[in-house]
Symmetry: C2
Subunit: 214 residues, 2 copies
């Protein structure tokens, strides 16, 4: 991917990665992004679900939402996706850090208008959050599709920033009697909670059974 002034990683440049494969792998490992845009001169940051397909990131929301309305007008957005992978515990406070994988995308969102395209993009988001769920449920009808705005953000001006590995301390600090290392961190699923209104005897969905549950 072409580096731009905006995507070039300035702090700790060796952590910057610009190849599409790395960027896509990070994007495919999560489904929550933070979208930033400028509204009446001030910055707004909104958390929202996303899905990736090919070179596009899809997000959605109610047709009536402020974010979606603003963005449909073709304003510039900045999207950040961050996965925390671990606490990096050094011997000195100063060298404490996090292991993480992060992607930033700059671009202009495009509204998806065609009914079939919209349906496809919503399936992409659904598949990213829970693979297989789309096939199990009642898919959107015309009225629901109309109430849903879907936006596509091209993954063109993007970069990744990744930290891995153990802490790095000052030479003289390696002698300190302090435990150092990594405490891994990840999102984890818990035991499914049945809807109190579930039909009696309704079996758990395959999409949920397939999740790595604690």
């Amino acid at each position: 991917m072409k580096k731009t002034e905006r995507t070039r990683v300035k702090r700790v440049p060796k952590r910057g990665l610009y190849d599409r494969k790395t960027i896509n792998a990070i994007l495919d490992d999560h489904f929550l992004c933070h979208v930033g845009f400028v509204h009446e001169g001030y910055p707004v940051v909104i958390p929202t679900l996303y899905g990736r397909s090919e070179g596009n990131l899809y997000i959605h929301g109610a047709t009536s939402s402020r974010m979606l309305r603003s963005m449909q007008e073709g304003i510039e957005v900045s999207v950040n996706i961050t996965l925390l992978d671990g606490l990096v515990l050094a011997r000195s406070a100063f060298h404490h850090s996090m292991n993480y994988r992060s992607v930033v995308i700059f671009g202009t969102a495009k509204s998806i208008v065609g009914e079939e395209e919209k349906r496809q993009a919503l399936k992409v988001i659904s598949d990213q959050v829970l693979p297989g769920r789309w096939e199990e449920v009642r898919t959107p009808n015309k009225k629901e599709l109309k109430a849903t705005a879907v936006l596509s953000i091209p993954i063109e001006e993007a970069s990744a920033k990744v930290r891995t590995g153990p802490p790095v301390d000052e030479t003289e600090d390696y002698d300190l009697d302090v435990w150092a290392g990594i405490v891994p961190l990840q999102y984890a699923y818990g035991q499914p909670v049945y809807d109190p209104q579930l039909k009696q005897g309704q079996a758990l969905s395959k999409s949920v059974i397939n999740l790595p549950i604690l």
Copy 2:
């Protein structure tokens, strides 16, 4: 907390909460925030660690970082903190949702300059990420403090947005043969990974032992 046009929850207003107790409880349950600001007219969103003490959110970074430099000039920021609590699986694709707790703060960051104040604010961040760690490690020396910029953001113009509970489906969809419910989601710690350069026999730190590890 006083609602403003910016903090008033517009989409699903019943999910909006404005009391300081709720906002603080959410802030105290996480340590990753996304800070948005406007740089040369375009939006930038940066993930960073934070700590809360009283009515302030503290963030830090290298004195040389673009974010910190921009923000020290007193520009407006928007901060979002989001905790995902679960996948909300409905009988229709349209009514799928997430359970989450989210806080948004608008404000102007203030640079912390005094050495002792800086040290205190860094302890707040450290305590938020891993309680007790600060007391175990070598604390910052003058040179390290100088290389670290610390900012304080007042939690004054803020609101929370929270979704809890089971899915809500269309009346006619409750008859469908589809499992519905919640799959809980949370950040979880894994088994500590020892630094390969650790002194032989160095015991695990108490701060790590105290973590709820899977």
